[in-house]
């Protein structure tokens, strides 16, 4: 029963968070770009969230006649489902996660790579050249960045001796935040995380200046909305996982509840993601690949080797 209530709460919170993030991103971008952003509807423009929802729900839901209808409809749901599932293993506070899986970290990696299908199938089913280019880019990007995303986390696993997310948080009580002992791992995971959520500078699958809107060129209405929500859920997920794995999760001074610290840290990373979008230009596709395979992969392998060696040395 308790779990059911938790699931419902998390679902509601996450979905409203995703909608709220749209507003947050637009306001933050507005501030950083010397303009206002949406500030007209309601207090601080918060009503914009509602207005956007009404708009997107009442828009004509159009499926292009040349598209592969079944897959076209299926694609946007995958990303939302995968992202929501991944949140099941995130510990929000002590003993507060939907499922305290022993292989929590692996489950997160599995779910986040499933989301790639959404982009690939969406682009493929659209039967549009721009969408096809976008989904090809997405496939290549995911394959390359997935590899060292997993590798970068292995250092943390070695130090903790567990794939369980709660154990990882508790281990940081002893060892201190892993961002210090696993700094390289943190950087690599951050980069991979940005690539995973297709945010600038890794937004090549939807680079509007090159391929219009990439994989979701043909999408409109709520189907487009699902891609959008999926993207923001991804941002929130990566931020939450960074917080959990490298910044001590819910740990923090006693005067505030653990949940507060978890949310605060996650929020800071979400803002960081938005700031990236305001600040960084977009590399070219081949440069991105080169960076992944020739820079990030060796670094994450080295990091794993050194961490393993040190752990072994300490044990013996």
């Amino acid at each position: 029963m308790n779990t059911a209530i938790l699931i419902a709460t998390v679902l509601i919170c996450l979905l409203s968070l995703a909608a709220l993030l749209i507003w947050l991103e637009r306001r933050l971008l507005g501030i950083w770009q010397d303009r206002l952003g949406p500030n007209r509807v309601g207090f601080l423009g918060l009503g914009q969230v509602v207005a956007d929802m009404i708009k997107i729900f009442t828009k004509e839901d159009w499926i292009p006649p040349f598209a592969d209808k079944g897959i076209f409809i299926l694609a946007p749901t995958i990303v939302v489902i995968a992202m929501l599932m991944a949140f099941a293993v995130v510990p929000f506070a002590p003993d507060t996660s939907i499922s305290n899986l022993n292989i929590g970290l692996l489950f997160f990696l599995a779910m986040s790579s499933l989301a790639a299908y959404s982009v690939m199938l969406g682009g493929y089913a659209s039967n549009n050249k721009y969408a096809l280019l976008g989904s090809l880019r997405a496939a290549a990007q995911t394959v390359s960045y997935e590899v060292f995303m997993g590798l970068s986390l292995m250092g943390v696993v070695l130090l903790t001796g567990s794939f369980n997310m709660s154990d990882i948080v508790l281990a940081q009580k002893e060892h201190g935040w892993f961002v210090f002992s696993q700094f390289v791992g943190f950087i690599v995971f951050l980069v991979a995380g940005i690539a995973e959520s297709h945010r600038l500078p890794f937004d090549l699958p939807e680079a509007e200046h090159e391929i219009v809107a990439g994989f979701h060129t043909e999408y409109s209405g709520m189907k487009f909305g699902l891609f959008f929500i999926g993207e923001y859920l991804g941002v929130a997920l990566i931020s939450a996982v960074i917080t959990t794995l490298f910044f001590g999760g819910w740990l923090g001074p006693e005067f505030m509840p653990p949940l507060f610290w978890f949310c605060l840290k996650t929020f800071i990373f979400i803002c960081f993601f938005v700031l990236l979008r305001a600040a960084v230009p977009r590399p070219r596709y081949d440069q991105l690949m080169m960076f992944g395979w020739k820079v990030m992969l060796p670094i994450s392998l080295l990091n794993l080797l050194i961490t393993a060696a040190l752990t072994l040395a300490r044990a013996s």
Binding site: Q33, D34, L200, P201, H209, A278, A279, P281, R282, P283
Partner: protein
């Protein structure tokens, strides 16, 4: 030896016929079979760039003293940088044999120009690789710049689109790679054809490029223009000399009065009007402010096209400050149309220099900031250095002027080499690049913003006193102060305002260093209240023609960076 003497020595007099023009450009008539030969000879003499190629429909023209008989005239305008001289070559054609040899072999950029002449006048160029319409739709009937072609919709039947014509139009829109000179496949690969534009986030207006892709690599691309064609040259033939001024504003719509500049100067040349010093400096000041505004748009969109989303907003704030200054002087923002034949519309308002001085203080530190944010950014460099590069010789061959030419390391600025409107009094540098790549083109323009600021500052410090309009009967509208004192000026005023002035017959030509390159107006007056022929040479037209040469073999993303670095305006291409 003058070019006239050299031509005479080479070809002998009966083959040549020289014509005197108001602009002083050596103008030589040749027989049509000689055209490629003469142009090649001129190229060896240093006339390395075909600046312009167009035609005149002479059939209704009354005043052609000293010119051979012709129904149509095709003219080539060549520029020599080493001699700092121009030459115009004309070919007379008769109505029943409208054809002449193509000169694409001599000047590759003649390709589009010859297509335009074919499109507008129906002149055939034998030996042209792909003679087809360029600005008008392929289904268009008639040739718009011919005198018998209607100029207004009201001269035509009301528009209708019956089903059979609709079907024909649809059929004409069908994309056939072969018709664009592209192959569908090789032995092993099928190519993908991507239709980039005319509506696409990065093509800066309505510009279309058909891409032949192998993966994301460009095998070939073919630009398609004409979607922004509004017939500015045709409009000039029915507007009075004065009422055409605001139309010029809309040619390079980011350049504002910069477009008025060559036009009014060419009219003044024909009319023999001497513009007072104050008016000249007001013109320079406004033109340079518009140059800053235009370059800021370029800078912002350049950053945006390589994926940096914020700079454009900062730069538009600066641009808005420029527009505040401009609107405090002219009342308009982007299209102030402030220049008049013989001067400017009004004197400067009181306190005009305050906002300008503030702006001169404001912008440099912002530019330093942008330098760090955009140009020093490693990703921006990786995206633009050595991308879309060409040599000075290639720039000559394709008619590239302005920042695109200077980015190759060739230091040539119209304002320095052929000062007009008092530019010789100003102290400013001409920035150059070295590689001729996308990055250098951007750097040159950014440095030009600083140089323009210097010029504006010198204008503020040295603005001469005196009239803002010439005391000349053809000044339009004439200065008002004397009109209520004597009847002659009153009549003059009345006639010039109601009918417009009659500009003496002749041919005039003026060019300026506009925001995007050399912009020139070639005017033919037939002793009338409107122009007989107005030829607008717009820099962007030439620049787009070069895109395939510098993009093929690169990625789609590079093409976007190249397009961004060219800084074109579609209205400036299509006119």
């Amino acid at each position: 030896m003058s070019i006239k003497a050299e031509l005479e020595a080479e070809f002998g007099l009966p083959a040549l016929h020289f014509q005197a023009c108001a602009d002083g450009v050596t103008t030589c008539w040749i027989i049509r079979e000689d055209n490629a030969f003469v142009l090649r000879f001129l190229k060896t003499l240093g006339y390395v760039m075909l600046l312009d190629l167009s035609a005149i429909d002479e059939r209704l023209r009354q005043h052609r003293p000293g010119q051979p008989a012709a129904d149509f005239t095709v003219f080539y305008h060549l520029i020599s940088f080493s001699r700092n001289e121009d030459v115009r070559i004309k070919v007379a054609l008769s109505e029943d044999d409208l054809s002449l040899p193509s000169v694409v072999d001599v000047f590759p950029n003649a390709n589009w120009y010859e297509r335009e002449v074919y499109d507008m006048f129906g002149v055939n160029f034998s030996g042209h690789p792909h003679l087809s319409r360029i600005l008008m739709p392929s289904t268009w009937e008639g040739h718009p710049l011919r005198k018998e072609h209607p100029a207004r919709a009201t001269e035509m039947e009301p528009y209708s689109l019956p089903d059979d014509i609709l079907a024909r139009e649809q059929e004409a829109l069908k994309f056939e790679p072969e018709a664009w000179g592209m192959k569908r496949k090789t032995d092993t690969n099928d190519f993908m054809f991507l239709n980039l534009g005319p509506n696409h986030p990065s093509v800066h207006g309505v510009f279309r490029i058909a891409l032949q892709l192998d993966g994301e690599k460009l095998v070939d691309c073919v630009p398609d223009i004409g979607y922004h064609h509004r017939g500015a040259e045709k409009m000039a033939e029915r507007q009075s000399w004065h009422t055409f001024i605001p139309y010029t504003d809309r040619v390079d719509y980011l350049g504002g009065v910069m477009n008025n500049f060559p036009y009014v100067m060419a009219v003044e040349q024909l009319a023999g009007i001497e513009v007072p010093a104050r008016a000249q400096m007001i013109r320079v000041m406004l033109a340079e402010l518009y140059r800053i505004a235009s370059h800021l748009v370029f800078y912002g969109t350049f950053a945006q096209d390589v994926g940096q989303l914020s700079p454009v907003f900062y730069m538009f704030i600066d641009r808005e400050k420029v527009f505040d200054i401009i609107s405090s002087i002219t009342g308009g923002r982007m299209h102030s149309g402030w220049f008049r034949v013989g001067g400017v519309a009004q004197d400067l308002p009181q306190g005009w220099e305050i906002a300008i001085r503030e702006f001169i203080q404001w912008l440099p530190s912002r530019l330093d900031h942008y330098q760090k944010m955009v140009m020093d950014n490693d990703i921006v460099k990786r995206r633009t250095v050595n991308i879309g590069d060409y040599s000075t010789e290639e720039a000559f061959a394709w008619g590239i002027t302005g920042a695109g030419l200077r980015a190759t390391g060739f230091k040539w600025d119209y304002r320095k080499e052929r000062p007009y409107s008092g530019y010789e009094q100003f102290d400013f540098d001409v920035p150059v690049g070295s590689n001729g790549d996308a990055y250098d083109r951007a750097m040159v323009r950014i440095e030009e913003i600083r140089q323009s600021l210097r010029i504006v500052e010198q204008c503020v410090n040295n603005m001469p006193k005196g009239p803002y309009k010439a005391q000349h009967p053809l000044t339009t509208p004439p200065p008002k102060d004397r009109t209520l004192k004597d009847i002659e000026t009153l009549i003059q005023h009345f006639v010039n305002v109601s009918w417009g002035p009659v500009i003496p017959h002749g041919e005039g030509y003026m060019a300026v260093e506009a925001t995007k390159g050399i912009n020139s107006y070639f005017l033919v007056s037939d002793n009338n209240t409107s122009s007989y022929r107005t030829r607008i040479r717009a820099p962007s037209f030439a620049h787009l023609q070069m895109i395939p040469l510098i993009s093929n073999g690169l990625f789609v993303a590079d093409l976007i960076a190249i397009i961004a670095s060219i800084d074109f305006v579609m209205a400036d291409v299509d006119r």
